[in-house]
Amino acid sequence: MTTAPAATGRTSKSAEAIEKARAEGRPALICYLPAGFPDAQTTIDAAVAMAENGADVIELGIPYSDPVMDGEVIQAATVQALANGFRVSQIFDIVAAITSRCDAAVMVMTYWNPVLRLGVDEFARRLADAGGAGLITPDLVPDEASDWFAASDAHSLDRVFLVAPSSTERRMREAVAASRGFVYCVSIMGVTGARASVAATAQGVVAAAHAAGAPRACVGLGVSTRQHVDEIGSYADGVIVGTALVAALRDGGVDAVADLTAELSGRKD
């Protein structure tokens, strides 16, 4: 199959953001929202608000018709974004608008078919032109990613693959070698959604990722509170919050997103 090229020797926007947080003695905060929920301008304003309240990395999801890794809250938001007319090409304008207004690294989280449909290299080129940092790919494993390796190298983009509690040591090594920026450690066998506590399995996944050579391992799925951030921050390099922020945007708009981000980042007591 494919061998991942060495993921070194390139600047990585998400790695820089995470290392900056590390230098400040804290885990990086990675904040997710689906693009176009409920509309593009709200996404831009909410993302900038997240950056201003302590998010180091912004993760923008592309709404997709068949989001198998997402739980109900994010599904409902992406369904609404699509119903409101979201088009994939808007992601580049949204990324450009956000990067023009703040310094956070902006990653795009996308299921793979929209990228395939536009063309992997074309997608990468336009994302790089917009100032995007790279892609997080929930349904693309390194085994199938040869086109993405080439395109992400050509356009100097980060590529973040997922590792899970079920990943074997060998697959863990492959995912770590294939990733650039960070690896996304899935905390639990499940889909996105806020949970009362973050699974104990998360620490094992991070330890395995570090043992496999990952310089930066960040934890997502179920992370929703400042307490989670503190807890995970004790062993991981970053924490990824999604569903809780989406619910905040849904219920309280951009202000609620700003508030929750400040709480998560510890800027608000």
């Binding site: 198998v68 890794m69 369904v79 078919n113 085994d143 199938e144 997922l162 899970a164 509690p165």
Partner: protein
């Protein structure tokens, strides 16, 4: 090395698969393609969380294929429980409407639970037990695969949860009751378009969360590796039997084999028996819905383009953004916007031909089979029947002597489940209009070579 490929005798599936696992068998044989790739199609476009489970399934499947006890167990269940081999019935009165050619029906409708689906569920349920899993999950559209899965779970003492679009649970309340009677839990899926593809999404979400105890019993020859090769393996018995039976009954191979295509499991099962018989034409008939010149159809290969859905790269109904387009068909079992990757490959290399059949054409064939043969076919299978009529008429128009043309149509399921739909279509629900409909709609004269209008349209769109 491969000189015998085209003339190899029927083998049992276990032996056949072993032969195919050897890449040195060369390109001459299309049989037993092991995956993960079929040309550019197939693969594993899946969340990392599920890769370990797919690996475990692939490993278990490989071991099982090499285990004579497993083959014997499958064969015994097929014979003593499912009722195999299924018959091959010559449909003489029906054939008169195809220019007088000889159409034979592979009677998967006579299997236990009424369709080919039983072949796959028994095999996969055995694999689940072999892996030590105690719980089966499945998706279903109209309910056929859900009923079959619930049946296998009851037989083998496994828990069973079936995901079904909320809209489908309302339309198919009786099938929901059947699954409940068999001890399964039916979960209505409210997400997305509330149809089959969303039921698959929800089943995948369940699988991610419960993979240690649970096997996902996928119902068609699609999805991530090893499902396409695995589901085909359990359905190969259809083609193996059909090939032997047609040789027995006619002393020759057929000119054409016709099957309907949703995800494509019954089609790949019957095609497989004839893949290396180069002179046997293979036809897959997709659901043309209202017509492929309208947006309401499920003609994935005819009008789709390659993309990734539910774990495999294959032809896909998608919009300019790569969003999946909702499919439409009168037949819930064909109402799926994707198709198994091996079909995409057979299409690209020209080994099989894929054409759309409209709802109207399928229902006409449905009515014709009821009245000429006393068999009520599934509406899914009626697409294959309508296709067989077209293929027969075309052969005759091209100058073939009708009695020399032999066609097998895979009658993949019985139509009991479709009686309400058919009654509505033919306006039979009211006693008076029903009587009028019978009086006003005599069967058209046999042997007309009238071609359906929609066939020629849209082929190259």
């Amino acid at each position: 090395m491969s000189e015998s490929a085209a003339s190899q005798p029927d083998t049992n599936p276990a032996e056949g698969f072993l032969a195919g696992a050897d890449p040195s068998a060369g390109p001459a044989s299309l049989k037993d393609a092991p995956g993960p790739y079929f040309g550019d199609y197939g693969g594993r476009w899946m969340p990392e969380s599920l890769i370990a489970a797919l690996d475990e399934l692939a490993r278990t499947f490989d071991e099982a294929k090499n285990d004579p006890d497993f083959a014997a167990e499958v064969a015994a269940l097929n014979r003593d429980y499912a009722g195999r081999p299924s018959l091959l019935t010559e449909a003489k009165r029906f054939s008169e409407h195809a220019g007088g050619v000889r159409i034979f029906l592979k009677r998967e409708d006579l299997n236990h639970t009424g369709s080919h689906k039983i072949n796959n569920v028994l095999g996969q349920a055995l694999l689940a037990k072999r892996m030590g899993k105690t719980r089966l999950i499945a998706e279903t559209g109209a309910g056929q695969h859900g009923v079959a899965s619930a049946t296998a779970a009851a037989l083998l003492g496994l828990e069973c949860v079936v995901y079904m679009g909320a809209e489908d649970t309302r339309r198919q309340a009786l099938n929901v009751a059947r699954m409940n009677l068999l001890g399964a839990t039916v979960v209505p899926v409210e997400a997305g378009s509330q149809t089959l593809k969303d039921a698959i999404n929800e089943a995948l979400r369940d699988w991610v969360a419960n993979v240690d105890s649970t096997h996902y019993l996928l119902g068609t020859a699609a999805g991530a590796h090893p499902f396409p090769a695995l589901v085909r393996y359990f359905h190969q018995v259809i083609g193996d039997e059909a090939r032997e039976q047609i040789l027995e009954q006619t002393g020759r191979l057929p000119d054409a084999v016709c099957a309907c295509i949703g995800g494509g499991s019954n089609a790949i099962g019957i095609f497989h028996g004839f893949l290396d018989d180069a002179d046997v034409e293979l036809y897959g008939f997709e659901a043309g819905g209202d017509g492929v010149d309208t947006p309401r159809h499920a003609a994935t290969i005819t009008l789709g383009r390659p993309g990734v859905l539910h774990g495999a790269r294959s032809y896909l109904m998608q919009d300019e953004d790569g969003q999946t387009i909702e499919s439409h068909s009168i037949s819930a079992g064909l109402d799926y916007p994707g198709v198994g990757p091996e079909h995409s490959y057979l299409h690209d290399i020209g080994r099989a031909t894929y054409e759309p059949i409209t709802d109207a054409e399928a229902m006409e064939a449905f009515r014709l089979l009821c009245r000429t043969e006393g068999i009520i076919p599934a509406i899914e299978s009626s697409h294959a029947l309508a296709g067989a009529l077209k293929v027969g008429r075309r052969r005759v128009e091209a100058g073939a002597a009708p009695e020399d043309v032999v066609i097998i149509a895979n009658l993949s399921g019985r139509g009991d489940k479709d009686v309400a739909t058919a009654a509505e279509w033919f306006d039979l629900l009211d006693a008076e209009t029903a009587e009028a409909a019978r009086a006003e709609e005599p069967l058209e004269e046999p042997a007309t070579a009238r071609e359906g209008r929609s066939h020629a349209e849209g082929q190259d769109a």
